[in-house]
């Protein structure tokens, strides 16, 4: 097959590999010039240094946190951190009391807020709303005109909740400059004066809210999707879906029955009674205050209106993670120095270089000049892996951890193994007396299957480790998987084509003593090549017979009936003569 192939088989594949590497390099170079990427891979906390935060969870009501709640807290923080795209975050508990969060680099204030964000989420009906700015002193409502409760409030939407004191607070509230003092968490049974902070598109709004009616812990889950139009067609508007549990469903039905009346009474969409709104309050701040357009009886409300994909996702995340009545307070925040990490990285790289050299020496010892093919292949694999890690660091914020470095070093051996499988197959073919060119082709055909099957096992392991494991296990699994893929690319696109080319050189093709593919040393029978092909099985060297059970079996199958009979007869004869001999003894 190879003999009839193109003049320089493999050359085209090598060119393609060169194109791929050049393209990846160009992508990375482009990113670097654009200022977003860098030539060096991003490093994780243990290598780059980073921030370690110790968080003290606080349960609503000030009671002590139990173990189950703590575990829940860890799970929630992990979800939040993973969700925010920070790789390699480690979250653990300490002393059965605190949660330790380790983040690479210095976390953005957004990430910090996300981790800290109170999961104390409530639904409160709106009593009154207004622009976020404080009412100027001179135009504030005079003492005698302040709203005065006339009776005990009948329900959470009752205007009688608004006392003069609360109204004063409402008027004075400045949503652009919220007071910095630590505030006590609000009492769920009392009204609350608070803000909905300004966003990019909407100004800040302040509210007087009624007592808590539905708790965040009543949320089972939440999601976001493109809104469906009247005919069921998907529109371009984003919507957030909430699903309440049984208790939440009942309460929410009750709330929407009341609020919807305000909505209808005010004239539906054209009216604007704030009491038709219910506010979703997170950490005593309103994150959204939709109006109740309908009575929701199935506990599956949908919030719509003016969402982009990002804002819908953000609200949905807040709702989902908000289902836990635990808040966190950062107790200590410690920057981990890069010194230790740098030292570890240096040692890791040193170990890698030593390991690589050992593998190089071993390959040269075992495979002579062929060892250089291994080395070149490892170098190409290294370049591909490096480019992949650097690009992933840019696009996916992938960070290389110490465990990841270990994965890379371990992969040296696993990558080199593919070549060993291949080389041994070529040697096997040479031992059978094939010429190098066809030995390379036949050896490849067999080795290819084995390499694919065994790499599938490697990839499977890496995938399972990646998806199941926590913390720094991921980095290790990721590099293992990455290198398995790089290895496949290299074996198919570099090692094999290179050998195809080398097989045609005099040095390898004529089996130089140092080529590692010297047929004589491999025990091939030179006679076999030139001399007549017709041999009796007895003359054929055992090794040839041994080699190909398939061929041998085929030959046996092709015996004519007469031949088989003869063989059987001979066997019988031989058997009886042996018995006879035995008796003679």
């Amino acid at each position: 097959m190879a003999r009839t192939g193109p003049k320089k088989p493999g050359l085209r594949v090598l060119v393609w590999l060169g194109v791929i590497i050049a393209a990846l390099t160009a992508v990375l170079a482009g990113g670097t010039l654009g200022g977003q990427a860098s030539w060096a891979p991003k490093l994780a906390l243990d290598l780059e240094g980073g921030t370690q935060m110790i968080l003290a969870p606080k349960v609503e009501g000030g009671s002590d946190i139990n173990e189950e709640q703590l575990n829940q807290a860890v799970a929630i923080i992990r979800q939040r951190v993973d969700g925010s795209g920070v790789a390699e975050a480690e979250i653990s508990t300490q002393s059965g009391r605190n949660v330790v969060v380790s983040l690479p680099g210095t976390p953005s204030s957004q990430t910090r807020d996300l981790i800290q964000a109170s999961a104390d989420m409530n639904f409160r009906p709106v009593l009154l709303n207004g622009a976020g700015a404080p009412v100027p002193e001179e135009s504030r409502t005079p003492e005698d005109q302040l709203p005065k409760p006339t009776a005990e409030p009948a329900n959470s939407s009752d205007i009688n909740w608004i006392t003069p004191e609360i109204y004063r607070q409402f008027e004075a509230l400045d949503c652009d400059n919220p007071s910095q003092d630590e505030q006590e968490r609000s009492d769920p049974a009392k009204p609350l004066v608070t803000c909905e902070p300004a966003t990019a598109t909407t100004p800040a709004i302040k509210y007087i809210l009624g007592p808590v009616e539905v708790k965040g812990s009543n949320i089972v889950t939440s999601s976001f999707q493109l809104q469906q139009g009247a005919q069921g067609a998907v529109t371009n508007d984003w919507a957030v879906n909430i699903q309440f549990d049984e208790e939440g469903t009942a309460k929410f039905k009750e709330v929407t029955e009341r609020l919807n009346q305000f909505y209808v009474a005010a004239g539906g969409d054209s009216g604007n009674d704030p009491k038709a709104q219910f506010a979703i309050v997170l950490d005593d701040q309103v994150i959204s205050a939709p109006r109740s357009l309908a009575v929701i009886t199935d506990g599956r409300p949908q919030i719509t209106g003016g969402f982009t994909e990002q804002t819908a996702k953000a609200l949905s995340d807040q709702l989902r993670f908000g289902a836990l009545p635990i808040s966190f307070e950062i107790q200590s925040e410690q920057q981990i120095s890069a010194t230790l990490g740098g030292e570890q990285l240096r040692m890791g790289l040193l170990a890698g270089i030593i390991g690589l050299l050992l593998v190089v020496f071993y390959s040269l010892f075992q495979y002579r000049a062929l060892g250089f093919v291994t080395i070149a292949s490892l170098v190409v694999a290294g370049i591909l892996t490096y480019l992949a890690i650097a690009i992933l660091g840019w696009t996916e914020n992938y960070r290389l951890s110490l465990a990841g470095v270990a994965g890379l070093i371990v992969a040296i051996g696993q990558t080199a193994d593919s070549f060993i499988v291949y080389f041994e197959r070529i040697r096997d073919e040479l031992r059978e007396g094939r010429g190098l060119v066809s030995a390379v082709e036949n050896g490849w055909k067999r080795a290819k299957r084995t390499v694919l099957a065994s790499k599938a096992v490697n990839l499977l392991a890496a995938l399972v480790l990646y998806f199941v494991a926590v913390g720094n296990v991921r980095g290790f699994a990721f590099t293992l998987g990455l290198t398995a893929i790089a290895d496949l690319i290299v074996v198919f696109m570099f090692t094999h084509p290179t050998l195809q080319l080398l097989a045609r050189t005099r040095f390898f093709g004529e089996g130089h003593r140092l080529s590692g593919l010297d047929p004589k040393r491999l025990g091939a029978v030179p006679l076999y090549r030139g001399a007549g092909r017709v041999r009796t099985p007895e003359d054929k060297p055992v090794l040839v017979r041994a080699k190909n059970a398939g061929a041998a079996a085929e030959a046996e199958r092709r015996m004519t009936i007469a031949e088989r009979r003869l063989a059987e007869k001979q066997e019988q004869l031989a058997g009886s003569s042996r018995t006879a001999a035995k008796e003679n003894k």
Binding site: A406, I420, A462, F476, L522, A549, E556
Partner: protein, 338 residues
């Protein structure tokens, strides 16, 4: 090289052959004993030497240290608790972290004093905390899930690839033996079991299966047309395949273990405890045992599982027959060597 290449040639032709399959009783017995020991030893010793993440422990943080010398911290601990093996690390520019076993209040106080003096800091620059074992438990739980998922998927993958569940089962058996013995070595040698060691452990399982797949691939090739051949019995073909891939197995093991050994040397010699050392230790032990388990357990087991299949029994009889008939012609039995 000629020595090793010659070794390879002889293995390939069958001139030199190690009876891995035939002596399966010996190997199975050794493996069974080793597995039994691997179960008994940790039980007898009262479990593994778990890292601080699993058993919990005390941790000291010393800020604004004058020197970041680890030995000072170690001494401060060992002065108070003899035989304790504290883990000392520089976690920030001028911050040291010292991890120890769980301490009594008295010990904690005395070590705190010792650390204050050793690093030349004031009393309030040394903090002490206990670490709960939740993190380690989390890792363990995930590792177990990972293990089960991996074994299930790998079994299916192999059964599909080799088109026989018997190969799949044999490969898993080899992996299980590797798993137990590696764990046993850990228990016996008192290596510390950390989350990193667990990662290494899981990787070993993948290596073990990987190695088996390569050898089994050769077995499958050798036994593909067996029913039409009278040259070797099934068990002999399996044995030949193992012998033919022996050079590969040794080379593979070498190239896998060399980098790991380098990490181990660097990790243990220059860095002390940590991710690199723990990981490579598990790998080092596991790769050695995994390679052996393929040769001595998985392959013989496969032959064993199929020994009673009617087709193979008939084929074995034919082989016996043919051998008996050719016994008078000894010349043919010797491989021709060039």
């Amino acid at each position: 090289m000629s020595g090793f290449a010659n070794f390879g040639n002889e293995l390939y032709t069958g001139k030199r052959s190690y009876n891995f399959v035939g002596s399966k009783k010996i190997w199975f017995t050794i493996a069974a004993v080793a597995v039994a020991l691997s179960i008994i030893i940790p039980v007898a010793k009262g479990g593994f030497n778990l890292g601080i993440e699993f058993r919990g422990g005390s941790e000291f943080t010393v800020s604004n240290v004058q020197t970041t010398e680890a030995a000072l911290g170690e001494k401060a601990v060992t002065d108070v608790v003899e035989g304790s093996v504290p883990r000392v690390a520089n976690v920030a520019g001028t911050t040291m972290r010292i991890q120890t076993d769980k301490l009594t209040d008295d010990e904690t106080l005395r070590i705190k004093e010792g650390l204050t003096a050793a690093y030349g800091v004031t009393d309030d620059e040394v903090t002490s905390t206990f670490i709960g074992p939740t993190w380690g438990a989390d890792v363990t739980k995930q590792a177990l899930i990972g293990l089960v998922v991996f074994v299930l998927l790998a079994s299916v993958l192999m059964a599909l690839y080799f088109r026989t569940w018997k190969m799949s089962l044999s490969a898993i058996a080899g992996m299980v033996v590797t798993m137990f013995i590696t764990a046993g070595v850990y228990a016996l040698s008192d290596f510390e079991v950390t989350p990193s060691a667990i990662i290494g452990f899981l990787t070993v399982l993948s290596y073990s299966l990987y190695d088996t797949v390569v050898v089994f691939d050769k077995i499958r090739e050798n036994t593909a047309d067996l029913d039409a051949s009278t040259r070797r019995t099934f068990a002999e073909e399996v044995n030949l395949a193992v012998n033919q891939t022996l050079v590969r197995s040794i080379n593979t093991m070498m190239v896998a273990i060399l980098p790991v050994g380098a990490i181990l040397f660097i990790g243990a010699g220059l860095l002390g405890a940590g991710t690199l050392r723990d990981l490579s230790l598990a790998l080092f032990v596991g790769i050695l045992i995994g390679t052996a388990a393929t040769i001595f357990v998985a392959a013989p087991m496969y032959a064993f599982l199929r020994r009673n299949e009617p087709d193979l029994v008939r084929q074995a009889k034919r082989v016996e027959h043919r051998r008996a008939s050719s016994a008078d012609r000894p010349a043919s039995a010797e491989p021709a060597q060039a």
